[in-house]
Symmetry: C2
Subunit: 337 residues, 2 copies
DNA sequence: CTGAAAGCGCTTACAG
DNA sequence: CTGAAAGCGCTTACAG
């Protein structure tokens, strides 16, 4: 297919390229007659703008970018979608950039800044670690969503998240209050300052408060996938054969665990209770529905967008904590003994 | 953050911009000494290429694009991922473009062609309808994956898919052979020539062959989501209260249905059998695991990439049918009466 | 309201 | 092996 340029269109319409550009960009200073003439040609020859040229030539209209790390993460996808909804109609347009779970979100920011001078970022599923210096270097407002960045020391970063530690503690409390004493804990890397470390701490808080000993070596770290969780049941039983509950750090982990338990002939929740985290749609559709901590996706989305807008208008960064909700679920029961 | 251009780098390194460009693109005709000098500057100032400029200036290296419609579609995501793996190391680089389920895949193709002159496309989750003319107009090789495009009349399109009609017929056969006679059918739009129409036909083939009457008005069309399927259970029971099985056209539909049945106090499969389609990971992890038709994702991925490469080298388009596998699953049982 | 011209940051022949 | 120059397809002041 022949690709026409605006020069071609200009020639065919008998006007200057600058005029075609104006029409294409909906500028008001074009006569109705000229506009129509140009649009006729555009439609007739199926003209498509070259966006490289468009963005190269400083399309200096400021915009914000939402960077989502993890394409398969239902939870993050939900939040991103709601952010887009919140951003509808705002003066600054928002765009979403999905990157691989393995990719570097800070590199993605930098590239987006180099290519299009993004005026602000929302990072979804990002980590707060040493690579954060990129945020400082970029110097544009940045909101970490679902992660606490208050300890990052960045003067241009806000964040919005639930209290992961308190939420996990509350979940563990529920298990312990139901009489469970031998609980396996399954999750992500518990080192550092990120949400998995916080969740781990929350679980420990509860165990400690209930006077239950927990050998840190019993902790099972796993990938965030159904398969990863399924396979770690092996390791869990290697360490303790007598567990009556498994606390996990995500809904997909919980689902992987339930399936693995069933395949071992154990019933959930009659024999073993299982808990998830995030409050994804699937957790509610699963059988048994998964007891989980529901993160307020709509609120997180709304707050993130609001925080970014605040900063774009010169406001100071803020760190917001939103409330989580404990979801009952059918996956937990009283301990049998 | 200050963004440097290759002119800045050239100046700091005391060389010409063309030399910097050569270094950046790994051209062999640069002295080791110069290369080092340039790279030092690049690293020191954190230079990032502007990709708009790069792509604008005909980076005429040919490449292929995989367009995935539907970001939340696990099945398509799986296939896309495997395509990328298959394409590793091939002469033509492949890139993946995810678009919204509501977006127009043919527009996406056109834009990608306008921006970067993609040399070929694989369309995942595309539809074969009148908008296909875009494929003809573009004139570059195109592979429809998971859809049959043999009837499209396009001379530059291949396709690879299972026999959706036969697969659905086989699934319905299984239900009927287990004694079910009152089966609800739940799926996508059955008009036209796409996979859902084929699946519908397959279900009808089986019913007809078994001498079972089916009132077309009983068919329930629904959205492809857990929620959509959940809600259509209402409509199913409005039409027939005595059904003992539900055949659906996707695994998520099946899951939505199972949950809805449970919430009505019906057991799956003891009271009602339910079947899915696609063979997604979740279908196997669900409880009960979903009886489904497993599409050979690896093979579809491999074949699609191979077909595109064939065409890129001047080969004729071909339409390939790959074999599906019936997955047992725990979600179906003998009809009680 | 419209046009001619400069320039965005790169790459790629073309000379040397 | 290296540099000067043209040009990719747009947009945006600057004139008229």
């Amino acid at each position: 297919m022949e690709i026409y340029t605006i020069r071609d269109v200009a020639r065919k319409a008998g006007v200057a390229v600058s005029t075609v550009s104006r029409v294409l960009n909906g500028r008001p200073d074009v006569s109705e007659e000229t506009r129509k003439k140009v649009m006729d040609v555009v439609e007739k020859c199926g003209f498509v703008q070259n966006r490289n040229a468009r963005f190269l030539k400083h399309a200096k209209e400021p915009f914000a970018a939402i960077i989502v790390r993890g394409r398969r993460n239902m939870f993050l996808n939900d939040v991103a979608e709601q952010m887009i909804e919140c951003a509808q109609g705002l003066k600054t347009p928002f765009l979403v950039k999905y990157i691989d779970e393995e990719a570097d979100e800070f590199e993605a920011m930098r590239q987006l800044y180099a290519d299009r001078r993004a005026g602000g970022f929302i990072l979804l599923g990002s980590r707060v670690d040493e690579r954060c210096e990129m945020v400082r270097a970029l110097g544009v407002p940045c909101v970490f969503a679902t992660v606490d960045a208050s300890g990052s020391g960045l003067e241009n970063a806000s964040s919005v998240c639930i209290d992961d530690r308190a939420a996990t503690r509350a979940m563990m409390d529920r298990l312990l209050d139901k009489g469970h004493t031998r609980v396996a804990v399954l999750g992500g890397c518990r080192e550092g300052d990120d949400i998995f470390a916080h969740r781990y701490q929350g679980a420990m808080d509860s165990l400690r408060a209930h006077g239950i000993d927990y050998d840190p070596d019993e902790y099972v770290q796993t990938r965030f996938s159904l398969k990863g969780a399924y396979e770690s049941i092996e390791r869990i039983f290697e360490k303790r054969q007598d567990i009556t509950a498994v606390l996990t750090m995500s809904d997909s982990m919980a689902i992987g665990v339930v399936r693995a338990l069933r395949d071992r002939g154990l019933r959930v929740p009659q024999d073993v209770s299982v808990t998830g985290f995030d409050g994804t749609e699937m957790a509610g559709y699963y059988v048994p529905s998964i007891a989980t901590v529901s993160q307020p996706t709509a609120e997180i989305a709304r707050e993130s967008v609001a925080l970014l807008c605040e900063m774009l208008e010169g406001g100071e960064p803020r760190h917001v904590t939103v409330d989580f909700t404990m979801m009952e679920g059918e996956s937990i029961a009283e301990a049998i003994r």
